[in-house]
Structure formats: C-alpha cells, structure tokens
C-alpha cells in the first residue's frame, strides 16, 4: 500500500511531467531552429538594412500597440468586472470578436472600413492604410482584446471592499480607482502589456492585408520571414525567426523581472 507521502509525490510527479514534456517540446523546436542557422547567417541578417528596419518597426510598433491596448483594457476591464451594465453579455461578445475571428479577417475588416466614407475621413489626416500607423492599428485591434480579458479577470479578483473603505475615508470614485484599484492591479497590468506585446510581435495576417509588406515601410519581422521564404532564402528566414525568438524572450523576461521587482 502506498504511503500518503508517496501518493503526494506521485501526484506532483505526474503533473510536473506533463509540464516538462510540453516545455521540452518547445525547447526542442527552438534548438532545432537555432541549429539550422549559424552565427554567420544571423550576423548577415543583421547586416541587412531591410531586416534592421523590420526589427526596429516590430519592436516600436509592438510597444506602442501594447501600451494603447493597456490604455483601453484598464477602464474596459474595470467596467466589465465591477458595473453590471445592461447588455453586458452582448458587449463582451463584441469585445471577444478579435480573439475568435481569424486575424487575417480582422485585417480585411480594417481594410474595408478604411474604404468607407468614415474610414476615409479618418485616413485622410492620419494615414493608416499601408503605413507604419496601420501596422500599429492592426496589432492593436487584436492585442487589445487579449489585454481586456486579462484586466477584467484582474479586477474581478480584487476585493471591492478596499475601494468602499477608501470612499468612506474621503475618496471620490476617481480617487478610489486611481489610488487603490490601479496600484492593486499592477501585476495584472504587467501581464496584460506582456501578452499584448507578445501577441503583437507575432501578428502577421492583418498586417499583411491592411498595411502591406513594403520593405523599409511596413515590414515587420513576421513579414520578413514570409518575404524571405517566398524568395527561397531559407537561411535568412530561419535567422530572422531566431531573431524574433531572441527579441521576444529578452523583452518578456525583462518585463517579468521588472514586474516582480516592484514590491506590492
């Protein structure tokens, strides 16, 4: 008969094994990718002006779209979590559309919208279609939906009582939100930005449809991979993919470390 300790051990072992198998699978994929290229290929890729531009555009557009996503996700998540508005289920379904729809369809929706009178009125002064702003918008539309889900969950798990006590202590609704809710939601905000950033970095379909794949103009790293593959340049495609992985891992690790370092 198994002792209680052994049963507990086997429980954790079974669950940890599942986690390790999946992590190992991802590591294997990354190692295979890294083994396919060489430092020389990577260096050659970095020497290319087009690839350097796409790396720069990827990092800046992802950062802007993730911050914009947070700006929208914080109030939206708060309202969904705290205020029982009529028709909330319908609004939530609408907000989830970018998650459910294939990303390329979202790009198509953007492209068609900017052909309408309203779209053209906006596109006149701001220029979204086939520009770097369009890259940010295409990333934002999808990343924001993920950020909203995270912020909603975050606010749902925060106690409402602290805000109510803050109200009795003299705060206005704005004051309680700003001084109590936001600092308490800090970890959720870091998670939302991280997920929005990561999601934006990997975005390809809507950018291709809405912003195009013009070199030195709207080309981001996933577009570069596709362009290089289309041109039969497998070495460059693999090198850029590895660059994408390195950039993603560096930023995500940095954000997580910074997030953990800020004391609650």
């Amino acid at each position: 008969m198994m002792t209680s300790d052994r049963r507990t051990q086997s429980f954790w072992l079974a669950l940890t094994s599942m986690m390790l198998i999946y992590a190992l699978f991802i590591v294997t994929l990354l190692v295979t990718l890294a083994a396919y290229t060489s430092p020389a290929d990577l260096w050659a890729a970095l020497q290319s002006r087009e690839i350097r531009f796409s790396l720069f555009l990827s990092l800046t557009s992802c950062s802007i779209s993730s911050l914009l996503s947070l700006l929208v996700a914080v109030p939206t998540g708060y309202v969904l979590a705290r205020w029982k508005i009529p028709g909330a289920a319908v609004i939530e379904s609408i907000l989830d559309v970018p998650i459910v729809l294939p990303p390329m369809v979202m790009g198509l929706c953007l492209l068609i919208f900017f052909q309408t009178t309203l779209g053209q009125a906006i596109d006149g002064p701001l220029r979204f279609t086939y520009t770097a702003c369009g890259v940010v918008l295409a990333q934002f539309v999808i990343a924001c939906a993920f950020a909203i889900r995270i912020m909603r969950g975050t606010f749902e798990h925060l106690p409402t009582r602290t805000e109510e006590v803050a109200l009795t202590l003299g705060c206005s609704r704005w004051g309680a939100f700003w001084r109590i809710s936001l600092p308490s939601a800090r970890k959720g905000m870091i998670a939302a930005v991280t997920i929005a950033w990561a999601r934006s970095l990997g975005e390809f379909g809507p950018i291709l449809v809405f912003a195009g794949a013009t070199r030195l103009k709207t080309e981001v790293l996933p577009t570069t991979v596709w362009l290089e593959l289309s041109a039969g340049n497998l070495e460059a495609a693999v090198a850029v993919s590895l660059l994408l992985v390195i950039a993603a891992m560096f930023v995500l690790t940095l954000v997580r470390i910074l997030g953990l370092e800020v004391k609650p």
């Binding site: 009582r161 602290t162 006590v165 803050a166 009795t168 202590l169 206005s172």
Partner: protein, 212 residues
C-alpha cells in the same frame, strides 16, 4: 449621534423596511442579529455604500441620506478589514486625513497619538500583509479614526480573532471610546462582545430593530 427614521433598503431580493433607531452622542451601541439578518446591509447604508429607498439618516443632526460616503464623516472598519496592501501601515493611517487635506502637522500629531493609543508604533513601516490578525485589526481601527470622524462603525471587527487577541481588543476598543468619545456602532452576533463593550444594545430580528 446616529438616527435612522423609517429607512427602507433593498439589496437584490433582500429588503428591510421601517428601520428606526437612534444612538446618542458618545454612546457605544451594539447591533446584534443572526447571520443574514441584514446587519451589514444597514451598516453599508449608513456609510453611504448602499442607496436608501426611503426614510432618512441623520448623523449629528445632519441629514446625510443623499450624501456620498466621503461627505458623511464616518470611520468604517469592515468585517474583512480591507487594509490597503500596496501601502505601509503608516500610509494606511495617513490615507484619510491626507485625502481630506488636513494640515500636515495635525496629521503627524494624530498618527503619533493613534500609534500610541493602539500600540502600533513598531508597525508603522511594515507592509500590511505581514501583520497578524490583532495587529491588522488595530491598524484598521487606526485608519478609521485618523481623520477624526464623528461616528465610528465597526462591522463584526472581532469575529476572525482568537480568544486572547479578542480580549486584548476589548481593552483597545474601550480605551479608544474613553479617549476619543466617538459615537460607535459595533455590529456583532456575540453576546459577550455586547456585554463587555455596549452601552446600548440593538437587536435586528425579522427585519425590525429593537432596543434592549
């Protein structure tokens, strides 16, 4: 002074009607009643956290029925204490008077007095997550008193404490009452708390508050 006249409250499917009672200036009133009888609903309504359907609430003779929680001048300690865990103990204490823009000098003096009264001087720089049940209780009490409210409302403040800590808190609450003279409404279902602390006992039964 706290006065409720013909107050009607609706909270979802639960409702209370014709709630009438008054607590005199400087009194320590205990509101008793079974779990789910509506004690917390009444407390939240007095604090302005729930709307009143009809009736009036007077605090020190002032009609506060339609006022926001911030304008009622009530120190409130909730059942779960709800300390601000992104702040230190001192920041928790300073929160109310700072929001109300009281003079810095008077805030410093008040925090010093409260820290001494509640025996939390050595906790001021600590984060609230690290506090024991009794310590957290005293900090929540200090935070509610720091802006010098005219009324103190305690919602089952001692229910989560062990017996020895609860006995210590009886002394703390008596000391606070003697030194500040604040009108207090203490919600509990413990007859011992009522006996030890109360100068007036109110009982909520079948939707009616009666004085014992």
């Amino acid at each position: 002074m706290i006065e409720l006249s013909n107050v009607k409250i609706v909270a979802g499917s639960f409702s209370l009607a014709d709630i009438d009672f008054s607590i005199g200036q400087g009194e320590y009133a205990i509101l008793m009643g079974r779990t789910g009888s509506g004690k917390t609903t009444i407390v939240e309504t007095i604090c302005g956290l729930r709307p009143v359907i009809s009736g009036t609430i007077l605090l020190d003779g002032r009609d506060v029925t339609e006022l926001s929680p911030a304008d009622r001048n009530i120190g409130y300690v909730s059942q779960d204490l709800a300390l601000f865990d992104t702040m230190t103990v001192e920041e928790n204490l300073r929160f109310g008077p700072s929001i109300r823009r009281q003079p810095q000098k008077s805030i410093d003096q008040k925090i010093c007095e409260l820290a001494k009264l509640l025996d939390i001087k050595n906790l001021l720089s600590r984060r609230t997550q690290k506090l024991s049940g009794g310590e957290a209780q005293r900090v929540a009490l200090g935070r509610a008193l720091a802006f010098q409210p005219s009324v103190l409302i305690l919602d089952e403040p001692l229910s989560a404490l062990d017996e020895s800590t609860r006995n210590q808190m009886y002394d703390v609450l008596k000391r606070v009452q003697q030194q500040t003279g604040v009108t207090t409404l203490h919600v509990t279902h413990s007859s011992i708390e009522a006996e030890v602390l109360g100068t007036k006992i109110l009982v909520l039964k079948d939707g009616t508050v009666s004085c014992q």
